[in-house]
């Protein structure tokens, strides 16, 4: 629980931060809330040479009503996402999921951009973003670009964001009929399984966390969804799902939870 030595920079602008990333490459890590990174450093699972603290950079926090979308600054804390009226009214699933992350201390420090960039396989927000078909805006040496949620999560703790890019904003559609159902052993824990279901017109998008390296789209269940058949559709939620087994749950139980929670998420979303 004692980290290795590292250097620390606190740039005042995004350009300076990008410049530091360019110079230090893979040896640098961005520090936002630090609630995933610092525990990994204490366990020496992460040994960055340089921490680039983003907290002095203006303009990366806050929630903005952007017409059909809601735009959220990357450094906005889970607490602020959870308590935002704009999010609660426009995209209640995101507000709900942000309120389920870790415990209050984690939500007070952890950020939406940090959580997505970290891409922990048991985290809540990746599945939520995938189900919503949201997107992130990143800035790098070549300027800004947008990455769709479906392209963002590549592998275990790995995203499509380049080593010299920084998430600046997260955008989700205004979509009320969506719900996230999380199953964890203790309140503060990662999801054993979490299911985000978004109903968009007549179709459903279902993303499952905790069952693999990246969020799993339950395509069979999505295809079966007719608008009111949660039990029938959710029975297919684990089709193609090959979850891991660990001290939290066996693969079988995770598949079972995927089905149960998908049913609940579909019903909750349909009720919104």
């Amino acid at each position: 629980m004692i980290p290795a030595a590292f250097d620390y920079e606190r740039p005042g602008t995004l350009a300076d931060a990008v410049g530091l990333l360019q110079r230090h490459g893979d040896g640098a890590k961005l520090l936002a809330g630090g609630h995933s990174l610092l525990p990994m450093m204490k366990l020496r699972l992460a040994v960055p040479e340089l921490l680039i603290d983003l907290s002095a950079i203006d303009g990366l926090t806050g929630v903005r009503d952007a017409g059909s979308q809601i735009a959220i600054g990357a450094l906005t804390t889970h607490r602020d996402v959870h308590s935002s009226d704009v999010v609660a009214n426009g995209c209640p699933m995101l507000a709900e999921a942000a309120g389920m992350i870790g415990d209050l201390q984690v939500r007070n420090r952890g950020t939406i951009g940090g959580s997505l960039a970290h891409a922990e396989p048991h985290a809540d927000l990746p599945a939520v973003l995938v189900a919503l078909e949201g997107e992130v805006e990143v800035e790098g040496p070549a300027g800004k670009r947008t990455i769709a949620a479906s392209d963002l999560f590549v592998d275990y703790l790995t995203t499509a964001i380049s080593a010299d890019e920084i998430i600046t904003e997260v955008r989700v559609p205004k979509l009320r009929r969506a719900a996230y159902v999380k199953f964890s052993r203790r309140m503060q824990d990662w999801a054993v399984v979490g299911v985000a279901a978004a109903l968009d017109g007549g179709s459903a998008r279902i993303a499952i966390t905790g069952c693999g390296a990246t969020p799993f789209r339950a395509r069979a269940a999505e295809a079966a969804w007719t608008g009111s058949n949660a039990a029938e559709a959710s029975a297919l939620a684990a089709d193609g799902l090959e979850p891991p087994g660990d001290t939290a749950a066996s693969p079988d139980y995770r598949r079972h939870l995927a089905r149960v929670l998908t049913g609940r998420a579909l019903e909750a979303a349909a009720g919104r």
């Binding site: 629980m1 030595a5 199953f183």
Partner: protein
């Protein structure tokens, strides 16, 4: 919950705790706050393997790192003795030698192999990664079944069956009783391995003062005097030159009731290095460096007549002791055996404890220490008996309760006092059993299954009469010391041999003084935990502090009062027999205007002139109190829990605790102990469990995987009391620190089994386990 604050703060008042101001404002001084000039920081290099031969240690690279003072292995530090075990219940316990740093072989993952000393902790930690240890890995023995299997690898080559000790207690007519029984129920209970999990990990600051050959050790411990004695033995230094100080200690739960390798290593390293040495246990490190608890299987059989009256109990316990014996390891399952019969009058017993070595962290006392295991085993088996006979779980208990006290058990101890019907009645009265079916129906309407469980327990605490500790193979006695000193200004210092680490002794001991001497609570200072100030004290564990340490204070205060009475009588030219003592002053009976306060007496005793014939100066008395018996708190806990059938998730919806710990010094503190104790066992029942893989790697290696419940995960606990004074001590007190932990698991598991209709489920009742139990044979 609001706590009523009494204006007087003697025995029985819910006085606010004196300790809390410092603790709540961050002013308390814990081990990591101790900083000595020139101090080196120690990091321990530990074995990554459960069982291996050490073939070489290369510390060259570590030594070269800037800031590193030294790297020591077993070859560099001298010890006159190994890590001590002070328990030998049968005289036949196999006690393997355990050097503080491994010599030649390691026997559990986490065993200390080398240490690094550096000017700062970060450098020491970096250097630890550079120490190259070569191992030849040996097959590991994980779990008692594997250890007892024929041909199992040996944890210690000299013990060919991996058995540490067998303890038996068998009466003459067991076979006949089983043969004559109408009903026999069998049940096997697994009490899983847990950790104590104190919020403050352990830590040591050792300072060998070379100029005078003195050793000063700060340690986060429950037993500073034991640590002193064993430091003297292990490090070969005069005990008169060893001072051990336990500063504020952030919880123990038994995990600090031990003398650990790191304490001896830090002391020896300080001597070798010529500088103070500090070691602070890392949180993850604590999971492999501090003892574990429980890890006991119980194979239970009860023979009963057709009415459910017990004829005989057969209980065979298999205890996983881990790789070595810590201070009290062999005695923990022995405590299980002592209390195996629970609250019940059982004519015949066949009790057997088999303790087994495995390649895991040693087990030892963890809150309750043997009694939670015993209670879980007997109570769950009583539930099975009720089901078999077809009577209620309450009724089967009533048909077997002990009702005459003192009650000698078949295990050679004597329950001091009790009224088990009373606590059961009270628990039923407050928990509305009549409304249960309606609540169950309401839960069912929400898709939930509601169940109800109960546990009627008796525990053995107030350790202990020294004659008994000797008879059961414990090296130390079970007495406690206290000094009560009245200063010339009338203020009081109490020096206690107890070693509080969250229990509120400063508060409770001040209340005893206020009651005994009439000196206000606020005028009492309680000193503990420093062997330079205190007479030898045995420390705090086994719910002993109030029954033994509190009684010592009561007696020392009584001696002070007796002496003060003589001085006061002399001052007032009256006979001591004509004085009455009230509100801190002596008055001449019949002449209430003639009075002398305790402060005036103390001042005169300090001045020393004109004292009565034969009375020495000073008001300062020390008492060593050896209790004539243990105390036996008891009670009834009732739990209601809902199960979500499609996931197996358990939610405790109501928890009622009725405890009887005799007379109560501070009701708010007692309630707090019950809350904490119950929640400790909510952790064991629903969440916690140490898991090793078959190679002996700890899978629950952090608090992400070892699930100590947080505040949102636990129920509110309703506490109620009956008060049946103990005849064992003049205060009539028993002990409460472990009661909740001892009672709770059986009530919780019982509730879940009642809800699901499953006969038994192994703890922890994590959702998958409950779901599987409900769907056994079903599709997964």
């Amino acid at each position: 919950m609001a706590v009523a604050v009494d204006t007087t703060r003697g025995m029985g008042a819910s006085a606010l705790r004196k300790e809390d101001g410092e603790l709540l404002t961050g002013q308390a001084r814990f081990i990591d706050d101790i900083k000595l000039p020139g101090m080196a920081h120690m990091v321990v290099v530990r074995s990554p393997f459960a069982h291996a031969t050490i073939t070489g240690i290369d510390s060259t690279a570590a030594r070269r790192l800037a800031g590193v003072s030294a790297v020591y292995t077993a070859d560099d530090l001298e010890f006159a003795a190994g890590v001590p075990c002070a328990s030998n219940p049968t005289g036949q316990v196999r006690q393997p030698e355990r050097p503080p740093l491994a010599k030649g072989k390691v026997r559990h993952a986490g065993e200390p192999v080398a240490i690094v000393l550096a000017a700062d902790r970060y450098v020491a930690r970096d250097a630890a990664d550079l120490v190259q240890v070569s191992y030849d890995v040996l097959p590991a023995v994980i779990g008692v079944d594997a250890a007892l299997a024929s041909g199992a690898p040996l944890v210690h080559d000299q013990y060919p069956d991996n058995v540490c000790v067998v303890i038996e207690n068998v009466t003459d007519g067991v076979e006949e009783a089983f043969a004559a029984a109408d009903v026999v129920v069998k049940q096997t209970l697994h009490n899983q391995r847990t950790i104590p999990g104190a919020i403050e990990p352990r830590g040591v600051v050792a300072h060998w003062i070379g100029s005078s050959d003195e050793l000063m050790v700060h340690s986060s411990t429950q037993i500073p005097h034991f640590v002193r004695t064993f430091l003297a033995i292990c490090c070969n230094v005069s005990e008169a030159k060893v001072r051990v100080i336990a500063p504020d200690v952030g919880g123990g739960f038994g995990g600090k009731l031990n003398c650990y390798a790191e304490e001896f290593i830090a002391a020896a390293a300080s001597k070798q290095l010529g500088a103070p040495v500090k070691w602070i246990e890392e949180r993850s490190e604590s999971l492999v460096a501090t003892i574990h608890g429980r890890a006991q299987d119980a194979h239970m059989e009860i023979a009963a007549d057709g009415e459910g009256k017990i004829l005989a109990l057969r209980a065979h316990y298999i205890q996983d002791v881990g790789s070595y014996l810590q201070l009290l390891t062999p005695s923990i399952a022995h405590l299980t055996l002592f209390i195996a019969e629970g609250c019940y009058d059982i004519p015949q017993v066949d009790l057997k404890v088999t303790e087994v070595f495995t390649n895991t962290v040693p087990t030892d006392a963890c809150r309750g220490a043997g009694r939670p295991e015993a209670t879980h085993a007997i109570e769950r088996t009583m539930d099975a008996l009720a089901a078999e006979v077809g009577i209620s779980r309450e009724e089967v208990r009533r048909r077997n309760f002990v009702r005459e006290f003192p009650h000698p058990t078949n295990t050679g101890i004597t329950y001091d006092s009790g009224d088990y019907d009373k606590t059961l009645d009270r628990a039923l009265e407050v928990s509305d059993p009549a409304g249960f079916e309606a609540r169950r129906a309401e839960a069912k309407s929400r898709g939930r299954l509601l169940g109800r469980g109960l546990s009627t327990y008796v525990e053995i605490c107030g350790l202990a009469p020294s004659a008994v500790t000797h008879a059961i193979g414990l090296t130390p006695g079970g007495w406690e010391s206290a000094t009560v000193r009245i200063h010339p200004t009338g203020k009081v210092t109490v020096i206690t041999g107890t070693a509080p680490h969250g229990q509120g002794h400063a508060t409770s001991w001040s209340q005893i003084i206020e009651s005994e001497l009439g000196i206000p609570f606020d005028d009492v200072e309680v000193i503990h935990g420093d062997t330079a100030f205190a007479p030898y004290g045995l420390g705090t564990y086994g719910s002993r502090s109030v029954a033994v340490g509190g009684t010592a204070i009561h007696k020392a205060a009584g001696r002070v009062r007796d002496k003060a009475r003589q001085v006061a009588a002399h001052m007032m030219e009256a006979s001591p027999d004509d004085l009455e003592f009230q509100d801190g002053a002596f008055r001449v009976k019949g002449s209430p205007d003639r009075s002398t306060g305790m402060g005036e007496v103390a001042f005169r005793a300090w001045q020393g002139f004109d004292l009565p014939e034969g009375v020495d100066p000073g008001l300062d008395e020390t008492v060593f109190f050896d209790p004539p018996n243990f105390t036996f708190p008891f009670g009834c806990h009732i739990c209601e829990a809902e199960v979500e059938p499609d996931t197996g998730r358990v939610e405790i919806t109501r928890y009622v605790a009725v405890d009887d710990c005799g007379n109560v010094v501070n009701p708010a503190i007692v309630d707090g102990q019950v809350h904490g104790g119950v929640i400790h066992s909510v952790g064991q029942a629903l969440y916690e469990g140490v898991i090793y893989d078959e190679d002996g790697q700890l899978l629950t290696s952090s608090f992400v995987d070892y699930l100590i419940p947080g505040a949102p995960d636990v129920p509110s606990v309703e506490t109620y009391r009956t008060e049946t004074p103990s005849p064992t001590n003049p205060l009539g007190v028993k002990g409460i620190g472990e009661a909740g932990t001892i009672a709770a698991t059986a009530a919780i598991v019982g509730a879940v089994c009642d809800a699901t209709g499953v006969r038994d489920i192994d703890m922890p009742l994590q959702p998958e386990r409950v779901w599987r139990a409900m769907n056994e044979g079903g599709a997964a």
